[in-house]
Amino acid sequence: MAELKPKTFLAGARLVWRQQRALWLIYAANLVLASVATRDPLARTAAILNHSLAGWRLVHGFDLGAYVELQLHPSMPFNGGRPVMVYSAMLFAIFLLFVTGGLLTAYYQDRRLSPGPFFAACGEYFWRLLRLMIYFTVALVPIGILAAVAGALFKKIDRESISPFPSWYFLALAAAIIAALLLSARLWFDLAELLAVADGEDSMRRTLGRAAKLLRGNFLALFWLYLRISLIGWIGFWLGLYVWMEHLRPEATTQAVLMSQALIVFWLATRLWQRASGALWLRQFEPQLNSQAPGVPAQPPAPPSTSLEPAPN
């Protein structure tokens, strides 16, 4: 079992910082796609709001009734705009899938890639990662079934219990188990994606098998690594939301924009932190990986860096 070096957790964060161009590229895509998706509904909403004194009910405080009334307005396109926002979210997911190849290459090699090699790596690994994504959705099916069973059990307990609490205790426990399973599945496939990039292996099923073997031997350490980062992500995000909702003045639009975008960057950064930590951890296995993967020339690993400065190319 590979030792999870104590500083992998922090080293991963530093790696994200060193390779922050990738973070900003992905964030920019997220922001642009969201802005494009909301542009048309916002334009039509602006036609209602910009010249109306009734808009003050949304500015000074937030009168939820005024907002719902806006949604019910006959010329309000929000119901029609909703699918566009979903399409935009899907496009972003595809974009992220595309850049993951370049991202993981940069993390694994811990070197800054210029745009050419970066996007070359993106293209080289895209189909492999796509296949892995399809396998991932299949892997989620048993977890989905388990969630449905848990839901049915929750309803049964709720129906039969005099007190309302037992069903909710059960739900909390079931949610924790399902969250752990989802995290484990994600961890497995993240490892597989890293192996695909590190090995140059073409068979994703083989890659999945090797990732499973790696994970099995090091499950607790890796799970704890991912869990910590996820918890930081969730807690930080909800704390930030709390500050936004409860402590910013309702009229402070600029501060709200900064806070909301900071939350998006933070959320994204924690996800990249997981990827970076995984990459650092995997590099410990490079000799074994290279000996197992046929026809792949060994890449000398870059020395692990504890500084914020990028490793030399």
Partner: protein
Amino acid sequence: MGKFRFTALLVLAWLAIGQPARALPANQDKSGALTKQQSLSTRVVAYKLEAKLDVAKKTITASEILTYHNLTGQPQQTFPFHLYLNAFQPHSTFAEEAEREDSSFEWTPEKHGSITVERIVVAGMGDLTGRMQFVQPDDDNAADHTVMQVTLPEPVPPGADVQFTVTFVDKLPQVVARTGYLRDFFMVGQWFPKVGVWWKGAWNCHQFHFNTEFFADFGTFDAKLTVPKNEIVGAVGDVVSTVGNTDGTKTVEFRAEDVHDFAWTASPSFQVVEDSWTGGAGPVKIRMLISPGSVSSSARYLTALKGSLRHFDAWIGPYPYNQITLVDPPHGGLMAGGMEYPTLFTADTFWYMPKGVLLPEIVVAHEFGHEYFYGMVATNEFEEAWLDEGITSYMEAKVMDALYGKEQSILNFRFATLGELEDHRVGLLSSGYLHSTDTDPLSRPGWRFFDDTAYGSVNYGKPVLMLATLEKIIGEETMRRALHTYFLRYRFTHPTREDFLKTVEEVSGHDLRWYFSQAVYGTNILDYRILDARSDPLSSSDGGKKDSTGGRQLFRTFVAVQRKGDFVFPVDLKVTFSDGSIAMEHWDGQDRWIRYQYDRPAELVSAEIDPEHKVLLDVNLYNNSYMVPEDRQAIQKISNIWTFVTEWLGQLLAWLT
């Protein structure tokens, strides 16, 4: 002189004794409070009920002795009875209407309920069980058995009594439409054969529809309820006695006077919270039956209830009964919540109810309000649902605004608020006016509305806004006096909508037919908008019009207001100029549009219809104003939220990759 002295002595004697007080009605004191020396109502009915609950089988074996006083002024030979529980059968009118609203609705066996009349005997006339027949006065659905009538061999003369002895068995459904069981909880409403009302010269006894409630005569109820010993029982009226039986049960006896319904509840899991309050008519015992998990809401319930008692007592009239019972249904029992019976109502909450969501308080304020408008002013809920639901909802809004603040009486978070009036417009937690503005008038009978949404919108949301707008027309104090007068005049009777509308006109001193004909009897849409608002600089080619005081640029400002809807309502217009000056206009709204023109050395800043926000029935408040320099703060705020949500959604989906 002697004669004068004698007269003076008489006068002095008269003054010494004191003048007799002006006589008050026998059951009323100076404040309008009712005394208990005589009955409060004309007691048409006297029910003696005996019921035994079988907890395992979910059945009630019962008998009823109904003494009906024939005060109709005519001989009566045929008597209709409501058998409401038969609505919970697969092909009843209620069931068919429920399926029309939601085709996925399934009448699973546990939702079946019924009332089976085994025998009906009329004193002096014998067993008339064979003379019972089911009738369908509202539709031709022969499978609907919610109205039964029995024809006597001879008529009951006017002024005479007739006594019915009925034995029947109830099969309770799993809680559906206010009645039934859930685990160890029983809410028993509309459970006994209830005689119809002789109203406007005919029997009024409608079938039970998906969208209708109830209508019955005032009287007395004596009920003996036999339940397992561990059950905690709550009911309409006062507890008279509790007697233990040898078979592990107990019999709890209740008596209620001057009410028109009797409902009860039982559960061994209730926690009882008792308190009291004193109002204009004396002390009121408060009894709350709280289900497991809801104890944290008890204090909220109590605060809302006492606040409601206080405000109704002050604004509408004294609460004349000496007790009020609040029943908190268990989790999953939402269908039993939010319902009213005389001196008892059911509330609603969740164990995780945040403080900023005032749902428990809203339900209490609303259901308590029904003690006045339904319980005492007993309008026909089948035919004129808005008279109790709408007026109660309006009073709910007044009470909630007074207790919790106008802008946050529904939701009170720093990041978002919602007030009662606004919620009755948009229907986030209630039935909103804007969901169905023109399908049905208020005056339509309940079962004839287009659908459930229209019923809710027109009977709850619209009357609130209609009355709130009316309040702005006649003044808040006048509105309060009108409701107070209506209550005092019609309590313990069955008034109609015209009784209410005429009372408002009488108290306000205004002819309000122009308003009622559109708001109550019509489906007119009220929508005014700014059609045009601009300022054009006046140049020398316009006749050289420049301000004579220093040559300031003159502007010709046009403001046009359009009546988009077909509801004619006079509106105010406020036009604000860049030099701070304001022009106020008043338009009668009769024509389709009107244009105002101003020549001033200042440009238009804003034009606003109804600047004091009186016309709450207006379906679109966003087109009521126009600002010339645009203000992008609102759109920027919304843009931020939508962009954020879309970005986060993208990242969630991207987790799959």
